[in-house]
Symmetry: C2
């Protein structure tokens, strides 16, 4: 024990970075999109702890965490992949891995980080420790909807070709299964939290496409034929985020495309069970972790509002006006609070999810995505 | 930043405890029942990091974690409540809060720790920071099945009186709702992972009792009338652990009482849907986090074996013999490994959950419960 302590003190005295004993279970990062920085936040203290800068273009950025909740892998729009150490509060490594990227994922064992690219189209896979590239999977297409699946697998979809690929890294070399007929111009996808069902949203046609990844040879199932812009061809201000889909009490909730409503879908047979009219075009429909309520935010120009829907009555039970440009909502893992980024107010606002009272706020520069470290322990986030 | 660093170094130079920068997301503790100690383990390294001693009688112990995954609250059989700091690897605080205790829980906001006591019968609630008692709820009965529920609530059940109490700590003083007619001698209970359904197992009669905590006034629902020892009155070597219940693909799995089988139960209507014959009397039936497989261990004298059941076919697809007295199994949060305590081998053995290969082992003194820090982010664990 004494030897360890000596090493620790030596490390501290030599290093210039933060190094107090730290537990990382209640920390998180906020993407500051305009300044290429991330803000380290502390859930329990309702405070910002540090700002880490130099991450490039974060205009449509997301991130995933290592299993120990120490490192965040931040996926920038400009193809930058940045490994942030939230314990020392520094950039640990950074590579420019493509010209234009759209999200990433981390394998279930935490050893591989994958990034989905528009240009050049495909997926590149990196060693989570060193950020050295271990596999390049060109697709000849803009590539979207990249998620991790159990068993060291990644699943992603080709915008141009309408194919979904399953890349299995459990063996000595990656094995890729290609599934055709996903539909016209899939633009985003999600995987259910158990890692079983992969669902792609389609820009070029109504409906969605589901794959059962437990099948030996998954077959595309076209579901919800009435999901989409429909015959009226409503103007769509923003395609909804499919990762915002919520599962509550045996039903999915989906933000509609173009229309001012959310759809309810039976989780077992994937049929539509109802619709709830909303304030605007929904962007995220997020279930509180207990599934009792769903919180919904909206596209421009109605994006100053959040509505809360009860999953039993399917009625709106509360409305909040946090401020201009509500971009994201993140629940604490056990659901007692929700943290909301209000971009044009330069604030992250914290609400009690039962009383709906505002219980804190944090200054942040043009905040967008909020990511708590608890995501490290979940599939498909 | 410099000020923080100086403080950190000063703290280190003064302190005698471990204080290297630490991330806590992939750590865990193993109860060493015979020696009153806990072993700090590292999931990613598949190694033991430290042993923390002096926790009293841990013969039927369990623990919960603070939201930041720094502190473990260990509930000893002798009424000891010990707060262990896994960052500094020391006992932070310890109180003897009763003469005989059986488990505890932590509120969703992490501020309250509750302990369930046999003697004196009731629940005591402590400030998670100081371990000072903030509420004493005597029940006049041995008290079991204590769980946390969303909204700063605790739910627990009275062995003698057959009542379930819901204690709501969201207001200035605790509000207790008492529900009668739970059944004869409830011996354990669970809450579903969304915090909605509380189910009590009954020692004194067949069947179980469910409560829907989303109801304003929950009404006991007697379910599974054929669950129990039945007419043959089989000898029961060990009542199954109800927290071992698993949810997989829309069904619960239950270890039978006395019989060599597990039961499948429809999660929506709580009716029995099938049974699978097993090697022995099951103790824990744990779903792998993706719900595809269920791992089952068994009561003495058949407790050297684990069986793995496929949730699609409901058939046993694999059997392992880890060694004498397999007491507990804990999956990594995303399910790629399972850690198994083999008491009489003085080992914790790590298996790959897909290949079933043994991929590591760790020395531990009479290990029983294994608890990864990811539990901090879950309801009812």
């Amino acid at each position: 024990m004494k030897l360890f302590l000596a090493t620790a003190i030596a490390a501290l005295c030599l290093g210039s970075a933060w190094a107090e004993p730290t537990a990382t279970g209640d920390l998180g990062l906020v993407i500051e999109r305009a300044t290429g920085s991330v803000l380290l936040i502390d859930q329990s203290e309702r405070a910002a702890l540090a700002r880490i800068e130099g991450l490039g273009d974060l205009s449509h950025a997301s991130l995933v965490y290592s299993p120990d909740e120490r490192f965040a892998y931040v996926f920038g729009r400009d193809g930058g992949l940045t490994k942030v150490d939230i314990v020392t509060r520094t950039i640990s490594k950074r590579v420019m891995q493509s010209g234009n990227a759209i999200g990433g994922a981390i394998s279930d064992d935490g050893q591989l980080v994958a990034v989905s690219n528009y240009e050049p189209g495909g997926v590149r896979v990196f060693d989570a420790d060193t950020l050295e590239m271990v596999a390049d999977l060109p697709t000849g297409s803009k590539t979207i909807g990249l998620v991790d699946a159990p068993g060291r697998r990644f699943v992603f979809t080709l915008w141009d070709a309408g194919e979904t690929w399953i890349a299995d890294f459990s063996g000595p070399s990656p094995k890729v299964t290609k599934i055709k007929d996903i539909g016209t111009n899939p633009y985003d996808a999600l995987i259910t939290s158990n890692g079983r069902t992969y669902i792609a949203g389609l820009f070029g046609q109504d409906g969605l496409t589901a794959l059962d990844l437990w099948d030996e040879t998954p077959v595309p199932q076209h579901i919800l034929p009435n999901y989409g812009r429909g015959k009226q061809e409503m103007p769509v201000y923003k395609m909804p985020h499919l990762e915002g889909w919520a599962l509550a009490d045996g039903e999915f909730v989906l933000p509609a495309v173009g229309h001012h409503e959310v759809l309810w879908v039976d989780a077992a047979d994937l049929n539509e069970t109802g619709r709830t009219q909303t304030h605007g075009q929904p962007v995220f429909a997020m279930a509180r972790p207990d599934g009792r309520h769903v919180w919904v935010n909206f596209a421009h120009p109605l994006n100053d509002t959040i509505q809360v829907i009860d999953t039993q009555s399917k009625e709106i039970i509360h409305e909040l006006k946090p401020g201009p440009a509500v971009l994201h909502m993140e629940f604490t893992p056990r659901g007692h609070q929700v943290w909301v980024s209000v971009r044009d107010l330069d604030k992250v606002i914290v609400y009690d999810t039962r009383t709906f009272e505002k219980i804190g706020e944090i200054d942040a520069a043009s905040p967008s995505g909020i990511f708590f470290t608890a995501r490290a322990h979940k599939t498909g986030l």
